[in-house]
Amino acid sequence: MNAALLVISFFLVLCIWLGLQARKGKNMSLEQWAIGGRGFGSFLLFFLIAGEMFTTYTFLGASGGAYRSGMPPALYAFNCFYFVIAYWLLPPIWRYAKKNNVISQSDFYDKKYNSPALGILVAVISVISIIPYLIMQLKGLGIIVSEASYGSISPNVAIVVSVIAITIYVTASGMHGVAWTAVIKDIMILAVVVFMGIYFPLHYYGGLQPMFEAIDTAKQGLLLFPEQGMSISWFISATIMTALAFYMFPHMLAGVFSAKSPKSLRWNAGIMPIYQVIIIFSLFIGFSAILQVPNLQGAEADLALFKMAKMSFDPWFVGVIGASGAMAALIPSSLVLTATATILSKNVYKVWKPNTSDEQLRSLSRMLVPVISIVTLYFTFNGGESIFTLYLMAYSFMAQLFPALFFSLWKKNPVTVQGAFVGMIVGILLVIYSTTSGTTLATLFPSLPQAVQDLDVGLAVLLINIAVTLGVSAVTRKTSIHVEEDGEQVSGMGKLVK
């Protein structure tokens, strides 16, 4: 057993221990298990929600993207819209959830539109999007551990061992386990990424500016947005689309529900951007690799960070990097597991068998964790290309849930259940069609200006979704029962009086 492996094993055991420890003194009701009993203050909430920005993407994707394509994917890692949306949208979502005892993302749609069927549709769309996301995290984890252990552990073994680990503590502690391990994970990643992001440019180039100048001389154009393809208009539209989808994921909303008060959500929105800036160090790592380990082709580019690390550090430190990388995959995965188990039991099973008691639901959610783990493992090893296609669609899928949620927060919801249904389904079908057929605005309208052709096709689909949602709602409004709007209106009026 080498030093790297020892370090990784130590942190894995630490995670399990912390995860199990987190449940002490908690009476594990469904609300406790799924959303931490709505009791997380600003501190835990921060690590839970902000930590979602530090996944395997930060480790492999961001540095790999900068290595492969330079500035456009690098800047795409920063998204100011996340926070503005969080500031305005999350507090009203939280208030409604608290008032109406909403514990999952699908629950929210179910109760807002008074339609369990809509809850099921949302749950199905979410599970289809989130499982590929989980699988990509696990595949990333396999690569990280196998690289960091100098090949002494195969990716598949690493994946199986870590899935067993998170299954144990998620089943036992649910959201509490996720939150506490998230704290360790973020501290580790921060330390490791910041250190390498400063060290590599200094050590190999003598500073940041010399590094960028060297890259600019060697590879012209890599540090700028190109005229077409990943152009500025691609960047703007993709940024907006990603931000709209970001909080629609069931695990993100579960994180939001776990907050103690809307105040901590707003505070978080203000402090999170500073945290996002740290991704820049990951980009520096990727940039520094461009001239130091050239010629990594295709998927190998994602290994840029590890190639640099092995070239520069002792095995034990490579182990530390590997351990933080593994946690970068594990903690978001455990959050996803918790949220998925909750929507499947609460919003699918309970609709099918309405007499299920809360106590039974709680056991069911926990029993579902290992089942979801096994299904995920199966697809991780046997899914092939189709999983990657689904993963590419995940954000566009989740963005289709945005209109129905957004309009439902208005004082007078202009959207009916029928409108929400048709809008989502049309959106999803268009996303599937455009992704599988390779349709983009460029292939549809080759005569339009380049700036329009480069727009993210997901954003175009979203606009169609909004039009369809509002159109169908306008037609069905007269015949359907008015969707009641409580909670928000009351608190809104309270504000007016003040």
Partner: protein, 63 residues
């Protein structure tokens, strides 16, 4: 008041969309396009903190 808070909070997000696609001048060792992006992320934090301070809802929920 509410309107002003809206405006304050949206400024940084909109600002981040004005990409200045140039390398020179380098600021803090970074190409300008990168520095500009980072600057707006930091400003988002500043503007949202101000909005949070001004927001009457923050005081209401003091509990």
């Amino acid at each position: 008041m509410k309107k002003m808070i809206y405006v304050i909070s949206v400024i940084p997000a909109l600002g981040s969309l004005f990409v200045i696609n140039r390398i020179e001048p380098y600021v803090l060792g970074m190409p300008f396009v990168l520095f500009w992006a980072i600057l707006w992320v930091c400003l988002t934090s500043v503007f949202l903190m101000i909005a949070n301070k001004l927001d009457p809802a923050t005081k209401e929920e003091e509990d």
